[in-house]
Amino acid sequence: MTAKTDWDPTKPILEIENLSISFFTRLREIPAVMDFSCTVMPGEAMGLVGESGCGKSTVALAVMRDLGKNGRIVGGSIKFKGRDLTTMSDEELRHIRGSEIAMIYQEPMASLNPAMKIGAQLAEVPMIHEGMAKEEAWKLARQIVADVRLPDPDRILRAYPHQLSGGQQQRIVIAMALMSKPALLILDEPTTALDVTVEAGIVDLVKDLGEKYGTSMLFISHNLGLVLEVCDRLCVMYSGEAVETGSIKEVFDRMRHPYTQALFRSIPLPGADKNSRPLVAIPGNFPLPHERPPGCNFGPRCSYFASGRCDAQEIPMEVVPGSDRHATRCLRWEEIDWNAPLKAAVKTEKSAIGRVVLKMDDLRKYYEVSAGLFGGGAKKVVKANETLSFEAHEGETLAIVGESGCGKSTFAKVLMGLETATSGSIMLFDENVQSTPIQKRNTDTVSKVQMVFQNPFDTLNPSMTVGRQIVRALEIFGEGKSDEERRNRMLELLDLVKLPRAFADRMPRQLSGGQKQRVGIARAFAGGAKIVVADEPVSALDVSVQAAVTDLLMEIQRKNKTTLLFISHDLSIVRYLSDRVMVMYLGHVVELGSTDQVFSPPYHPYTEALLSAVPIADTHVTKQRIVLEGDIPSAMNPPPGCPFQTRCRWKSKVPGGLCEREMPPMKTLAAGHQIKCHLSDEILNHMEPVIKIAAE
């Protein structure tokens, strides 16, 4: 590897200058990235932040020169260690890929070859690039697997990808990238598909490895909090352009671009509150690549827009003087008062909490799974929900929090009647619906309990107009006497979710993700729902849209006094909008209380770890770092005693190995605050808060 030696380490490792990338379709040329520049110094971690479709992944793929058949670099240069990648031959590129630039992908399962053993996939890298012998390569693979902190490396090397959990797979992908000690690591949303506690582990690993091997990183993410944790510098992208770039500190604390500012105002930070300091959604929609406005791309959505100036010419990147390579693509950055307080948002009254509308008592849901392929063998019982008891009141938002596999979706299914409970009771208003499947529930009950689904892209019928789908829901719920009446009601519902009435005649494919989710909400409220189960309603949406959809839900709730069961894994949004929080782990409710009670000590050890794992995009926040080891145990084979004991850091504080033997009882700490833990009150009372906000 001659290239590794004749290169001056004080020079940037990656230098992208005025890069423009276009995709060519039969119809037209679609510019995906325009005039993009950035430099990455050795050992530096550069973050690329932006919403989906802003071109951040395209930049990464351009660095790898893997844009596919339609993509082409139409201008600019990408210099890696001083050599221009854009003019390299395939053969030269092949030597650089995997050995000097390595990439880590979003979906670990999809990026590992399902028919090849892990060891073979890892060992391949040094065998190709360094001509290493097979035995030696496997030995190196074993060492790297141990480096990424995977237990039992020998077994893992011999395993196939499907035999590992998502977190383990991502560690393997990272190991694969590190096999030949690359100089530059590109991480494309490496943790998006993973749970928060697993994410925290991976982020820690990436940071440590970056320091250990001195690797430079290009970290692509839509999550500002993650970028804050991992990167030294960042570059905010919007609609194919870099709009602001600089060091983390400067961009976070002294942003000089309206989009960056709007982005920060639309994410729920610890200080935000739905009533006193609501989120500010960015108005309008992301422009399609071929419908970009003239001049500033952000212009139509910008609150500082000056017509005649901002839309008159191309906006160049301007350096902010007196800073470390801080630049912004805004004409008016010097005129804007960046410290002006947020325009007094409409404060809203906290809606009154009414009577109990839903009461679950000692609910259990077990699934029987046969062990053998043909129904033979011993039956195994998966305890998806264990002794679930709680109440929900009218007009209240109850958040249900937990990682994948904790039983929150099963709970929603049981409540909706898609599954029937194994035992226990569900009192809906004054009716016991525990063992009534949805087919047998009367229309009234069905229309009272409705659901908003996670993925708006799959939940609408693609061959029915939006209006027709809502009218259909109205028909099923028996609303309205005539078609005319139902049509009017449908238009009112569109008004309610703030969609133009013209959308009634549109097909779902003509709508953006946020708009589809609004249709989903309108459909849920069609029958005057009293209880709405929102299963991760915004997690598939972009940050700027999330705020708008969340606010919409809140507003409808206030208007209709709906009880909202908000299922989520995103603690920031939960803190922002919920009144009470229920934390679940492996089918058990481990903590239940008001939002303040749950988010401040004393915590359940799991809640504590969960809080610590959530990345927060605020430089004033200091967090206690708690990284959970290992994966969530399988619900098929739960650990004895406390379900959390295998990963709990407080376990040693409980005398006599009680955690391993006995299921802790639910104990009440304060009014309405329950916790399922063996820890003594004394220890619980001395817990430190996980998140501290430094004084400004």
Partner: protein
């Protein structure tokens, strides 16, 4: 794995029983038996005589009993009339006392063919081995060609190579055997059309045609010349079909993320195809290839008749055309057996190709 195979074999036996019963029932419909009586005894029998004949030859008992007799789990019928004992298991003119009580396929007694005047078992054995050779050569030609074509066209979707090979495979799979067989004969095995007269004119071939128009001589001795045309006729159709399947599966695999991972690891293109894509791409076509075996069994019907090659398909046509119940039944048993065995092999092979599937 062994448990799995045993289980599968048990299911197979059950399926075979059901299927053969259906065939047995259909071939033994009253109208068929009437026809049989008329063809065996006299075409001008009165209806009464027909009924009598049917009774006398043991065809009047309930279907289930006759099915049991045919299987060999129920004792064969016997009938004593005017001091002469006849029965299913008693060959004409032999001593009834020496005859076994059961005689069905379980005892290895497949019955007697009314068309060929031979025991069914020996006919089936001969014909099946003849067809076996035909199938072997078809597979030997078809599968590798199809896989190569499929992989080559699938690895770079939309390339010129892909387009060219796709045109070939679509054309070949759109041409049924009775068309391609006739076309091939006209091209290569006709003294008046195709290339043979031209070659003969130049004295490049000794005979009148390049290939013989029949494959009858292949019954004794298979050569390239007498076997090429029938093999090509069958293989052509299947090649296109399997190639299309392989191509579809290959193009899908080539867009998978792990192929991008491999490419961005610096693996060279030939290695991406061979080491990373091939095994994954073969999973889907493998099932299709195994399904070709039963399909070949019926595909040979046309080709064997066309080339006058007396194999299984030809026998099937003869048996069906002449209401030869025992032979027809035997043919269907063989067909059912081939289908089930190839499916078992395909399931086992699937497990080896796809590590995500593990049988317990």
């Amino acid at each position: 794995m062994i448990v799995f195979v045993i289980r599968r074999i048990l299911t197979m036996v059950l399926t075979a029983l059901c299927l053969t019963f259906i065939v047995f029932y259909l071939t033994n419909l009253p109208a068929n038996l009437e026809k049989l009586a008329k063809s065996e005894a006299s075409a001008r029998m009165s209806d009464e005589d027909v009924t009598k004949w049917i009774e006398r030859n043991g065809y009047a008992t309930p279907v289930l009993q006759r099915y049991g007799e045919w299987l060999g789990i129920v004792p064969g019928w016997t009938r004593t009339e005017e001091g002469v004992t006849t029965g299913r298991c008693i060959p004409r003119g032999s001593d009834p006392a020496l005859a076994p009580s059961h005689c069905g396929i379980l005892q290895g007694d497949w019955g007697f063919s009314t068309v060929f005047k031979q025991p069914v078992s020996s006919i089936i054995a001969d014909r099946l081995s003849a067809t076996g050779w035909l199938m072997f050569w078809v597979m030997a030609v078809m599968v590798p060609t199809a896989l190569v074509i499929g992989v080559l066209s699938g690895m770079r979707e939309g390339s010129r190579l892909d387009r060219g090979l796709s045109i070939f495979s679509i054309a070949s799979t759109a041409t049924p055997e009775y068309v391609s067989g006739v076309v091939l004969i006209a091209l290569f095995a006709s003294a008046t059309t195709g290339i043979s007269p031209w070659l003969a004119e130049h004295g490049w071939i000794s005979g009148k045609t390049l290939f013989p128009g029949t494959a009858t001589s292949a019954m004794e001795n298979i050569t390239f010349w007498n076997f090429a045309l029938p093999v090509a006729t069958i293989a052509l159709y299947g090649t296109g079909y399997i190639a299309r399947m392989t191509r579809a599966s290959m193009t899908e695999v080539m867009t998978a993320q792990y192929i991008r991972t491999a490419r961005l690891k610096g693996v060279s293109f030939p290695n991406v195809v061979l080491k990373h894509a091939l095994r994954n791409a073969l999973i889907a076509p493998f099932t299709v290839i195994m399904l070709q075996f039963p399909w070949l069994l019926n595909g040979v019907v046309i080709v064997e008749t066309l080339f006058n090659y007396k194999g299984f398909g030809w026998t099937l046509v003869q048996a069906a055309g002449n209401n030869d119940i025992e032979l027809l039944l035997a043919c269907s048993v063989v067909a059912v057996f081939v289908v089930l065995v190839t499916q078992l092999i395909s399931d086992i092979g699937y497990v080896f190709l796809n590590p995500r599937i593990r049988v317990s």
